[in-house]
Amino acid sequence: VSDQLPTGESFSYIEWTPLCRVPRLEYAIGDPGSAGRRVRATSVVAPAGWPDTAVDAVSLDGLELRAASVRGLLHRSRHTPRQDAFSLGTSNDPLVLTVCDGVGSLGRSHLAAQYVVAQLPELVAQHARDDAVDWEAIFQPLSDALSAIEAGGEGSKPTDRADRLATTVTCAVLRREPSGLTAELAWVGDSPAYVLRQNHWRLITAAKSVGEGGIATTVVSAIPSSHVTFDTAHVELLPGDLFVVMSDGISDPLGGGTGLVGGALEEWWAEPVSALEFAAHVGFKRKGFFDDRTAIAVWVLPARTEPASETEEMPEAATGTACEGGTEDAHAVD
């Protein structure tokens, strides 16, 4: 294991040598349970080829982004597809980060989640004003488009739940402003966003309601809907912050963030990790938690004291107006 790459970037990696065995990247927080020990990634019966896990990473000037979506143990054990999805819209200004969690009781919700995350970056680009996004102009047409997909050629909503679809959506729009980095959030449903700041997980979006006997009793909003209702929030991000948008597959075990799960994620994500390591973290095993897991994490790096000549400069960032052209694959370290 070396601390240095030829570029001089500080980097930790495992150097392959003959007979070098790398341990399988799997994590548990507390008891992994019988399912955590025994349920493996399985084939998907339909749609064939739907990926078990999706991973992405982007490095920008001052920001490190990682994203992963990992199929839950319940879907794996039933050979059904992952219904979570994400997208990193980092080619335009502003950055558009989207997480969707398909509604599990409807058979085609994975399609809804995938469709929405694919559409959001472009829709936000179309409806972004200087300092805010016109979410009204985005969500209802998006919902109507999903209704049309659901209806297919029939013109009406299918009656069989296996043919229906719905998804939550949480979208974060990151801007570099003269005062610093800001995140504008809009969401339908219960996929939350947190900021990890000074060792505390803070929930930015609304918490799940808790009903009789302390059991969470959620009525989850989702699209499509004839009248979409959404919430918004705005947060300023500081150097050293970790901003995470996630599905409830992670936020359910994370809760308020002061327990085992909050501690483990804080320790693992104290600094940016590799994309594959991030996916392994997101897929942590914990008894009783079987849902799909998705997270987009943004590390807001502390200000550098000297320029890094190896990284592509982002002249727009200096004026706080654009990030276009500043993307590069996290693995393209050379």
Partner: protein, 259 residues
Amino acid sequence: MADNEGDLRVGERASPANPDNALPVFLFYLLVDVSGSMAADLPVLNQMLMEFRDKLRADPVAEDCILFSVLSFGSTVRVEVPLGNFATVNLTPDLLKINGSTRYSEAFRTLKATIEHDLAAQKDKDKSAAPSRDRFRYYRPAVFFLTDGEPNPGDPWQQAFTDLKAMPAYPLFVPFGFRHANDVILRELVHPQNRSKLYYTRSHDVAAVLSEMLDVMFLSILSSAYSVSSTPMHVLPTKNDVGPDVEVQQYEGGDWVLG
């Protein structure tokens, strides 16, 4: 830094009260009639319990969030399988044995005491565990009550059932009736009326309907376990999920208090 905290509060919402969400656990009880008239049915019941145990062993997702107990009742009540991980229980083909007459009252009283004891034991176990250990949250118990007959004449079962319903952790009570079971009495045992159901058959092919009813119970347990990854709830099979010989009676709406 205080200044930074202020920035964040602009969009911050209240966090859940618990530090992290504890591991969800469903509690299920099978309260089964073993009075004399059930003699021919017990081999089927014993066999199906073993099959369910094996099914649970092959389904680690369900195994992780279910605790299951079996109680038999006749003249007396026995806890045949204490509450625990049913997948790991050693079962014998003669677990359930014939035991006299049909005393509903004794069954309900012992069930109430057993649930109270089990919840207290879980609470003590969790309380004495190290702070770094996993925490649990227990969903309301569900009881599947299987009987082929009426309560003994004069059996004060109503009071015992009223006491059971008055528990803070009262169970979802789901009656299953066949052969000589009285559907009028069983309808009174559906509790809560708007969440539970009665599964009842008039078929004389007892072996077949008994299998169907147990399948319904086990499907309910597994479906409830699967719900923990979305919204935890008791899932009771509908008419579409059961065979043609089993009637499903459920709440049909209406809760007016005036006018």
